[in-house]
Amino acid sequence: MIFAIKRATLFLSIFTTAAFSQTALQQQHDYAICLYNSEEYFDAITEFKRLLFFDGKNEFTFEANSMIGKSYKAGAKFDDAIRYFVLAQIAAPSKDKVFETQIEIIRCNILRRTTDRALRILSDLEADPSFINNKAEINYWRGWALMFDDRWKDAAAEFKKIEKAHPLNAIAENINEQIYSVTLAKSLSYIIPGAGQFYTGHYFSGALSLAWNILWGYLTVNAFIGNRIFDGLMVGNLLWFRFYRGNIQNAEKFALEENLKIINNGLKYLQNEYNGEKP
């Protein structure tokens, strides 16, 4: 509470000075910023747009566009956010600001799960010699993009590049170790029906799958041995093959389901408990 009051007083003092500051444009800017800080994002955008409209000398083009982008981002409207960040980037007054805006675009891409795009922009930034000093930041956001893209091992490697004991490295490593291999689950079930289910801990389903496959396999083989070709084809096709295929599908489904649980636990932790910078 005390902290909140301190913060409020801080804002208050900043804005009081701002309110009496120089120009009309500056006042308009401060008002818009104030709305942004009070999380009135829709109205903040209106005021930033007003600022842009009356800003004949384009003094605020970069900042207003960038703030509009941030407002849209806060409303989870990432397509619009990116549109305005791109406008801001065009008007960016320095290389630093260009980089800053690019990172914002990357973060939006991560959040809207267009991670391919995020990774491509990151590669472009890395290839640009003017951002040679921003390596750590590029690796950090690439790590995030890879985590959202389910490539936990690669993500861990990126965080490791920044620092060996990077906390996100440990998290990504941990999740990577827990994840079941979908290919392995499927392959096991190809060889022994139900084995993939056992691998993912679904014992009842695995046992039942095995039982059905043994039964239908036995009946099919028996029919062929007894020269009842029609019966053999029918049971083999309609039942044995159906349950065999179902068994493989199930192994895959269980592996994916379990992985989703693990991944979601990880993502939940990252969103709620992790204290570093997030997209």
Partner: protein, 280 residues
């Protein structure tokens, strides 16, 4: 708490906000800009802000038009009230109200507004008459073809006549007939209700089970005979039921497509709203 205190402060700041950008003329300029950027809600709000201190016919109309562009028809109805008879855009505003009532399917209020438009001899009376004819096509009322097509010119006449014919003679299928067909030849009712594939498969299923029943009875497999016979009976009955249902769905589809085609046609015609070029 923090946010409330900042917000409170923002409002105090808004008083200090430069009057330069908030004079009615500047507000209007900004609103016009937003309108041309398709940012209609912000434009409408700015127009409303302008109207709190000033009166301007064009602004009233453009604010209503903004709401219309966003398909916010109840707002169109709310804000069109402030237009008065001596305004240049009065007829246009009334017409926007009329389209909105049409699109909200509020046909009683539609009739009242249409009557008013006719009474004042609006310049958009023909447009309004056209919309009225469409309400006749959409409602359960009977009127002559001549009356329906009268306000339309040659280019539209054939289309409207086709709509009229579709309304008068919808190509419905009778659920009863579908059921009767299927009880004579399994699946034929489905074919009649425009479900050829379902019909063939119904025929095959019933046929196969009947054959199996027959075959087993012939070989003196009583139990299997009864089993397959029972299944054949079930599929036979189910298909009769399903054929009637398919005909009912077909009819719902006919109704839906008729209404939908009218909507598409009207969207293409922009509901007979004249073109307004405020941005060039």
């Amino acid at each position: 708490m923090k946010i409330i205190s900042i917000l409170f402060f923002c409002y105090s700041l808004s008083f200090a906000q430069s009057q330069l950008f908030n004079s009615p003329q500047e507000v209007k300029k900004f609103a016009d800009y937003l309108y041309c950027e398709f940012d209609y809600l912000r434009a409408a709000e700015e127009y409303q802000k302008f109207l709190r201190t000033d009166k301007n016919d064009t602004v009233i109309f453009k604010s209503v038009l903004s709401y219309y562009m966003m398909d916010r028809f109840s707002d169109v109805l709310n804000f069109s009230v402030s237009s008065s008879r001596n305004f240049v855009f009065y007829d246009d505003t009334q017409f926007l109200k009329l389209i909105s009532l049409f699109r909200l399917n509020m046909f009683n209020e539609f009739d009242t507004t249409a009557a008013l438009i006719k009474m004042i001899g609006s310049k958009l009376e023909t447009n309004s008459e056209k919309l009225i004819r469409f309400t006749f096509l959409m409602r359960d009322s009977i009127s002559s073809k001549g009356f329906i097509v009268s306000p339309f010119d040659e280019t539209e006449k054939t289309t409207i006549e086709k709509f009229y014919d579709r309304k008068q003679n919808p190509h419905y299928k009778s659920p009863l007939l579908a059921a009767v067909f299927s009880s004579i030849i399994p699946g034929s009712g489905k074919v009649y209700a425009d479900k050829l594939g379902d019909g063939i498969f119904a025929f095959l299923t019933t046929g196969v089970f009947t054959f199996l029943a027959y075959d087993n009875f012939k070989a003196d497999h009583k139990f299997r005979g009864w089993l397959f016979g029972g299944l054949a009976g079930l599929f036979y009955a189910g298909n009769i039921y399903g054929s009637a249902a398919a005909a009912q769905i077909f009819n719902a589809g006919v109704q839906f497509n008729f209404q939908n085609d009218i909507q598409i046609y009207l969207t293409k015609k922009k509901h007979y709203l004249p073109e307004y070029d405020f941005c060039n």
